[in-house]
Amino acid sequence: MILERLGKELLYFDGGTGTLLQEKGMKPGELPETWNLTHTEEMVDIHRQYFEAGSDIVLTNTFGANALKFYDTEYELEDIVAAAVVNVKEGAWMGVHDGREVYAGLDIGPTGKLLKPMGDLSFEDAYEAFKEVVQYGEEAGADLIHIETMSDTYEVKAAVLAAKENTKLPVFATMIFDEKGKLLTGGDIPSVVALLEGLRVDALGINCGMGPDRMLPILEEILKYATVPVIVKPNAGLPKQKDGEVYYDVTPAEFAKTMRQIVEMGASAVGGCCGTTPRHIRALIKKTEKLRDFSGREKKVPNNRTIVSSYGRAVILGEEPRIIGERINPTGKKKFKEALKEHDIDYILREGISQQDAGAHILDVNVGLPDIDEPAFMKEVITELQSVTSLPLQIDTVDVRALETAMRIYNGKPMVNSVNGKQESMDAVFPLIQKYGGVVVGLTLDENGIPDTPKGRADIAGKIIKEAEGYGIHKKDIVIDVLAMTISSEPEGAKTTLEALKLVRERYGVCTVLGVSNISFGLPCRPAVNSNFYTMAMYAGLSAGIINPLSEDMMRSYYSFCALMKYDENCECYIRQYAGKGNAVFPAKGTRLTLKEAIEKGLKEEAYHMSKALLADRKPLEIINEEMIPALDTVGKGFEKGIVFLPQLLMSADAAKTAFAVLKDALKEAGDVEQKKEKIVLATVKGDIHDIGKNIVKVLLENYSFDVIDLGKDVPPETVAEAVVREDVKLVGLSALMTTTVVSMEETIKQLRKKKPDCKVMVGGAVLNQEYADRIGADFYGKDAMQSVYYAQKCFGGQET
């Protein structure tokens, strides 16, 4: 068994196959995987050469063998994969002369597609593609699954899950980094290691992209974070070109020399990638043979850092204090509840973005509300949030199904809120942490409630940590929340919490979190109590406060604490935040602008203050009709004439939106019922993932008081038709950017005609023109965003301006 040897002795992989295949006559453009069937002898010979050179693990020629990449009308994927495994075994039979145990590694490469939301491949489809291959591979007798050359954390997660859930084989995963230690999709080394270890791969590492020397600093960083054995498979240098051919020029001797260094640093399995040959492997083995046995190797200090990650970055807890933004949570927030009920994802995303801008390091995500399909909604919110923020997320739910759904599709190693000392809770949550990886918040309460002594709470923390051990979950992946009870009803509440914080850190050395603001419940001037308690808690050892980063009081405490405790070198952050910042107050009086002018000029702040000021002696509706609408009309007309340009049009729209929000609140307070708004569905059609055009139209339509139902991008025709029927919508706007996706636009129109004949369709987008729009049967072609506003007004019988 390979797992018995891995990490105890040096294991050798094979090297590249591309060069050898070319030597054997493979033509450019041929699918290398077909050679498993068409050139069996040559394939077996290549594998034999590597076994003869001394490789322990030889990879199958299946790098591109997945349904998304491999299209061949002649051969079935299953046959290719099966033949590939057999070829390696055959190579072993012919090439291993010393009776040593060797292994056929099923090679899995990337799909070559970018995953949603930035690309068009869904996580589930990627998973299915990998699942198919790993199943074929295991059936054919592969000894392990080797996922390599991955440049996307999300894709590698799909591949690892597919391998773990559908086979019993050991799983290795190696990624391709650039020289700055970043993935092509932006991930850094700690985030990658945290993700892969969370998913419980048996070994991880780096391959391809560069030669061995440039991998040294990257390996050093990987070893800093990894606890599982590390694999290193460099290219024979950087690719060079001559006469249109790509080649690599690091010689076997040079290769072996640096590889020895790599082994000495602590790599556990080594081999080569592009441009390396059996000669490279032979030289490598010769040079490192004496290092084969690890029994003399210095024992590595295990990595005990608590790391959460997103696709792009890792956040380490336990050093300087971190901020978990609490605002994505409906508890006690009327507007947020409304947004949840109305499925207003944009509102939630803006809450996320504003917290990031305010300094949050992690975002808590709670979308629990009665009558909501929490698993589906949580999944959607997590996916969307990860497309606008690179902050790691804390999945906050009591619904275990929602938790699993979210953990599965989360790109990174999430924080999970929460488990507690009740057996039932631990039985439900720990298996998920074990499977998907994550850092879990352990609440110090159990069947008997919340203990009122520090010791009682610390004991529950101990129970949680111990139970987790049974699942193989290290205590670095547990953070304890000792709970803050409001001091208005529990006079000892704050003291108990602070002492418990200290005790938990001392006793177990684990990280801690705390929902801070609960402490002041029922008191006046809560920010004062909260921010002071926050400082005290950080001093008592709080690793991450769950707070409102938009609260200036809390942030002042945070930045002051970091400056005072030397977490902020030279007080740089503190100075950046506060230097030169007096209490700037907008001069509401004395300015000569009118609200109309502020909107025309696109001045958002001014529009906000001016509309507030105007409310003192005018009615909201009057302001809307006499100031705002005329301003929007002026700007719209200017745009048509070509004297106002798109950015200005949008700035005015934004200013108007801000003013509208102020006036809308005033209307509500006055008990006036808002006018019923006409609904318009907007969508970027299936296959099209660029939605800036659609978003521009949306902003303007909303400005003109239409209720826009935004279905997003890459929307299937059925989804548009369904929404239109369900909401009884009379106007749809469709956007397409490419000739290749106008087909979906045509199909969408067809379905709409059939299912909702009274619904009008307007279209727009880079490739469209009137002729094209007519041909696909649209009612209206909008050459720019304002045209769609005018058409909408016309459709709903409003005045055409």
Partner: protein
């Protein structure tokens, strides 16, 4: 004015109009942000090229049917095939602004296009010099989707350049490049110098285009 600012303003549809102060500020802010997060990556390969007749071009293993490409490549014996991208972070930033500040999103989008052009131009100037020493002259860049050069060739470019693995440049089922701020192109190389200042824009037959140079 900075040439990339000029380009960005043109992409924003200003034509010959001067840019207003607030938009100008947004443009400068956007370039600042892009300079920080855009990660230009480029991959290229040289292929043998032959213009077979007035609508067929053989490029390496490919045979491309396109009148405009054949015209563009006349007299060339080789071609550079290239793919370049600014990386996924730019897409994310754009997406972020489209939720919080649409005018910024629109300006950023235009600026990113200008940064990409500038990046590829910069590489091309350098490489042109190198090829010049071997006696080659470059033709203007030509991309799948220009005129009758079928967008479906995008797939060949991605495959032949192995761009997914090398620079993270991939394509959707609808033949859109992902990340969004990416380009693929072919540049003809000939031993004879032909005056060819015409770039993609002037070559296009959509003469009423708002963004035309």
């Amino acid at each position: 004015m900075d040439s990339r600012i000029k380009e960005a303003v043109r992409y924003l549809g200003y034509g010959r109009h001067a840019v207003d102060e607030k938009t100008g500020e947004l443009v400068r802010d956007s370039f600042r942000e892009l300079d920080e997060i855009a990660k230009g990556r480029l991959i290229y390969r040289i292929f043998e090229l032959e213009v077979l007749d007035d609508s067929r071009v053989s490029l390496g293993e490919l045979e491309i049917i396109s009148k405009v490409l054949a015209k563009n490549m006349r007299g060339c014996e080789r071609a550079v095939m290239l793919g370049a991208t600014l990386g996924i972070e730019v897409d994310m930033l754009l997406r972020r602004y489209s939720f919080t500040d649409m005018s910024k999103a629109v300006v950023l989008q235009a600026c990113a296009a200008a940064v990409l052009e500038e990046y590829v131009d910069g590489w091309q100037r350098e490489y042109e010099e190198e090829a010049g020493r071997e006696g080659y002259y470059f033709r203007p860049r030509f991309s799948p989707g220009y005129g009758d050069f079928d967008i479906f060739h995008q797939k060949d470019f991605i495959r032949l350049l192995d761009s997914a693995k090398k620079i993270g440049l991939t394509m959707t089922d609808g033949y859109m490049l992902t990340p969004a701020k990416s380009v693929t192109a072919v540049i003809g190389m000939s031993k004879e110098k032909v005056p060819c200042h015409r770039k993609g824009c002037e070559e296009c037959r959509k003469t009423d285009c708002l963004y035309r140079r």
